[in-house]
């Protein structure tokens, strides 16, 4: 090829690079064979401690759940995972239709009119929703009601900070409030009075932004039912591995009137010249490559492959499967909560507050030390006091369909260990 160019070496093609910038060599080790690479990376993986599914009682926004084999069988198809963003619809119908199905599944689940093609994660979805609300209302404050995920709150503050938007955690709703943002269930797993929060937002002329757990929506009122304007959430529980926190998938859905304010990709139906139905990226006039600095967001992609996993998961489960997953999780969590509260030094942190499958307990630290859960192979008790000073000594626990009754027994016995 060099010959075709009349060049003697690569240097002849690098004439525009100032010589003082040329690098003699990268200070990195030399390349390795596949065998050696696998050995090196596998050794790192082996240095992580993986707790058994059944003994993982920790949540905090990321949950161990049963993932049907069909999910990986679909997402590992190279036609899906090695494709680019579907700019050329004629050659991307597989990706486009799967996104259209994802949009429909999320709209059905949340009871909203439309959903987008997905966002990065729950935290950025929540921040994008808040920014969207400020644009829709022309107001510059958002009110966070209750305990939303502390990392989501932090991301929201980072997004808001750049644009001079005020994030308030307390105070009254007023003429400056663009949105009331709440999480259902909240970060501790407790149920919020979502319909009342929505109504209060609307009375003040603000939007109601609901951050919801998708599995919970098999049982709980979806945001569309109580009239929320924007619904967002994290889709990790829908067939995605923990993966130390990512990649997962955020979703955002809204009422019909707000569709043109949505950030990110949207797929819509279209017809070709022969009247055949196809799918294409649409309403792109909202987006950065057309609108540049006037776009609704800078996002120019989504988490397509993760959204595909969520679609396969939801389709596999169907309405009955999803309800059973939610019910089994909730039943086991309530059984666990009752039994743990029988352990001396363990009490409900918020007695009487309803929850679904994650719940907070106040625990004598001596008790936790004595139980030495990690040594027993149990991952349980998320210390939420690290984010909320008023919750020092409070730990959350969760149950899903992977925590079998024997695993619940093990945790109860461990926490009930005699104090030394």
């Amino acid at each position: 090829m060099l010959g075709r160019l009349g060049a003697e070496s690569i240097d002849d093609l690098l004439v525009d690079v100032p010589p003082r910038l040329r690098l003699p060599a990268l200070g990195l080790p030399a390349g390795r064979s596949e065998f050696e690479t696998v050995a090196q990376i596998s050794a790192l993986a082996a240095r992580n401690r993986v707790f058994a599914d059944r003994l993982c009682f920790i949540g905090g926004g990321v949950y161990r759940r049963f993932i049907p084999a069909a999910v990986a069988a679909v997402t590992s198809k190279p036609e899906f995972y090695t494709a680019y963003t579907p700019y050329q619809p004629e050659a991307s119908q597989g990706t486009l239709q799967s996104i259209y199905e994802f949009q429909t599944l999320i709209a059905q689940l949340t009871g909203m009119d439309a959903a987008n093609a997905s966002l990065y994660d729950g935290a950025t979805a929540l921040a994008e929703a808040a920014m969207m609300a400020t644009v829709v209302t022309g107001r510059h404050e958002v009110l966070v009601a209750g305990r939303i995920h502390p990392e989501y709150l932090e991301v929201l503050r980072t997004y808001a900070g750049g644009r001079g938007i005020l994030v308030r955690e307390q105070g009254e709703l007023g003429e400056l409030t663009a949105a009331v943002i709440f999480q259902q269930p909240d970060f501790l797993g407790l149920l919020e009075n979502a319909p009342e929060l929505t109504e209060r937002a609307h009375q003040a002329g603000a939007l109601a932004v609901a951050c919801v757990d998708p599995i919970s929506l098999a049982l709980l009122a979806p945001p569309g039912q109580y009239g929320a304007d924007i619904a967002v959430g994290e889709g990790q529980q829908l067939g995605l591995a923990l993966s130390y926190g990512g990649p997962h998938v955020g979703f955002i859905a809204c009422r019909e009137e707000l569709i043109r304010r949505l950030p990110g990709r949207l797929v819509g139906q279209a017809l070709d010249g022969r009247g055949r139905r196809g799918f294409t990226l649409t309403l792109t006039a909202r987006e950065q490559h057309i609108r540049r600095e006037k776009a609704t967001s800078n996002i120019c992609t989504n988490h397509s492959l993760c959204a595909l996993a969520a679609s396969v998961y939801l389709t596999y489960m169907g309405p009955d499967g999803l309800r059973q997953v939610a019910e089994v999780s909730a039943t086991r969590a309530h059984a666990l909560a009752e039994r743990l509260q029988g352990v001396p030094g363990v009490t409900a942190a918020f007695p009487g507050r309803p929850f679904l499958y994650e719940f907070p307990l106040r625990i004598d630290p001596e008790r936790l030390r004595a139980a030495d859960l990690n040594r027993r192979g149990i991952l349980a008790g998320l210390d939420v006091g690290r984010w909320y000073p008023d919750l020092e000594g409070v730990y959350t626990f969760c149950c899903t369909e992977v925590n079998d009754p024997a695993a619940i027994d093990e945790l109860v016995v461990a926490l009930g260990s005699p104090l030394s």
Binding site: L14, N48, E79, A221, R292, S304, A335
Partner: protein, 484 residues
């Protein structure tokens, strides 16, 4: 060839999958006003139906595993299959983000090692791996620069962006509340230094630049550009979209860039996934380190690793947890396998491929800016316009002939732009076949332009009426569509 929607294939009455029973007794009390009132309506399909549905959908997709993606600016290189295996190792896939650091030492060490490698490749002091995508990284970098200026009591509110820049650049700047000012490209396709200097003042927070630029040309005045921006108190942001030309060749940090964003899904072979997940790390020079989002991974003298909370000047988190860890594993595996020598070879090969293809294409289409180019180049289809053939027609004609289309109508400064990036993983034979297809299209534009307007004819769908689709958007299936 089309496939019905999963919702259309649904079989009402079909029972759900077998799942565990609770096996314990307890009562779950949900107040009635918080309960779902209407039955959830999702598809009901058996596993074999689901697998066939998605297999058929997969067959409707073009992908890099099948053939060439000459998509300029997108660096569609081959995704090594071993990286997929490694990303899904039990020790990574089943690690909870809230496990104690002591039980996640392998993951933390991987993040640390990846950060060190990226620092070396781009010439910066620290890197945050939290941003989830390229645009997310751009915005993160600008927030960092904004925080830096503000910490000095300097409320700079303007960001300069070249007229050839990606649309995400001005959008990211606007999201930070910056006003965007455009700088002209000169006749040689590079930033017009005089125009830049005329726009630099005490309000300018940053210049956003990609080098090589979106025309695939190295900004040979980069050192003067950096000097001018720094002289006016601004900072330089590097858009990493085109880093594939530079690994082991030269480093943005050495050019004077203060904040550098990277795309692990472009340069470092993490797959694109049909539009994500990717990862958009941001590297910075030491003066910007205090403003990085946290947590960063730190190594204690004992050799143990931990997630260190961010300091008081940090812009705060930009995403939950550590970011797209699974993408980091794939990128790190690529860097380990390639090594310093292999990465440099990759960039050199990418430059060679692009110049080879450029030479062939310039015999068929106008290539307005003189070479040599770096990893990509931009041609123009305007010479075909007398036949009524546009860049879009070339794109669709290439799809019909088994190739993905180049990036078209970008950058905006080239009329009827056709932007081509072959990457280092394509063979000469593949590129020759692509050129032959392009030659056929150029010939057709003279002999039978109507046939070209009709393409594609043998793909799952023909050209879609996108205008009608946007006018009355149909974004979802509705239960009312179900036959009675």
């Amino acid at each position: 060839m089309t496939e019905p929607l999963s919702f259309e294939r649904s079989r009402p009455g079909l029972a759900g999958p077998r799942l565990p029973e609770a096996g314990v007794e307890s009562t779950v009390e949900i107040p009635s006003h918080l309960r779902r009132s209407q039955a959830l309506d999702l598809p009901r399909l058996s596993e074999p139906e689901i697998m066939r549905h998605y297999s058929r959908l997969a067959s409707l997709n073009y992908s890099i595993s099948e053939n060439f993606y000459p998509l300029g600016s997108c660096t569609m290189k081959y995704n090594p299959v071993v990286n997929e295996v490694l990303g899904q190792l039990d020790g990574f896939a089943n690690l909870h983000p809230y496990q104690d650091d002591a039980t996640a030492q392998g993951a933390l060490e991987l993040i640390w090692n990846l950060e060190r490698a990226l620092c070396e490749i781009v010439g910066v002091d620290r890197v945050t791996l939290q941003p989830a995508a390229g645009a997310h990284g751009e915005w993160t970098a600008l927030r960092i620069i904004q925080a830096y200026h503000r910490s000095r009591g300097d409320d700079r509110d303007v960001v300069i962006v070249p007229d050839s820049a990606h649309g995400t650049n001005p959008a990211s700047a606007a999201l930070c509340g910056f006003k965007v000012v455009e700088v002209r490209s000169g006749a040689d396709g590079r930033v017009d230094l005089a125009d830049l200097k005329s726009k630099l003042n005490a309000r300018v927070a940053a210049l956003m630049l990609t080098n090589p630029n979106t025309l695939g040309l190295f900004e040979r005045d980069i050192l003067s550009v950096a000097e001018a921006v720094h002289g006016a108190g601004g900072r330089l942001y590097y858009d990493g979209a085109n880093l594939n030309a530079l690994m082991g060749v030269c480093r943005p940090g050495d050019m004077g860039f203060d904040a550098v964003h990277l795309n692990l899904h472009k340069t470092f072979t993490a797959p694109h996934g049909g539009g994500g997940p990717g990862a958009g790390p941001v590297g910075v020079k030491s003066e910007l380190v205090p403003f990085l989002p946290g947590p960063l991974v730190e190594r204690a003298p004992s050799g143990s690793f931990s997630l260190a909370p961010s300091g008081p000047q940090s812009i705060g988190r930009v995403r939950s947890f550590v970011g797209n860890f699974g993408v980091m594993v794939r990128a790190y595996a690529y860097i380990v396998a390639m090594g310093g020598d292999g990465l440099a070879q990759a960039s050199e090969d990418a430059i060679l491929s692009a110049n080879y293809l450029r030479a062939q294409v310039s015999e068929l289409l106008d290539v307005p800016h003189p070479g040599p180019c770096m990893h990509e180049f931009v041609a123009s289809a305007r010479t075909l316009s007398s036949q009524g053939i546009r860049a879009l027609d070339l794109a669709k004609g290439l799809l019909e002939r088994g190739f993905y289309a180049p990036t078209i109508y970008f950058p905006l400064i080239v009329p009827e732009a056709v932007m081509i990036e072959p990457t280092e993983t394509e063979t000469k034979a593949t590129m020759d076949a692509f050129v032959a297809a392009l030659a056929e299209l150029v010939e057709l534009s003279r002999t039978d332009p109507d046939r070209l307007h009709a393409d594609p004819v043998s793909l799952p769908v023909g050209r879609l009426d996108e205008v009608a689709a946007a006018r009355r958007p149909v974004l979802r299936w509705r239960p009312e569509e179900r036959p009675a």
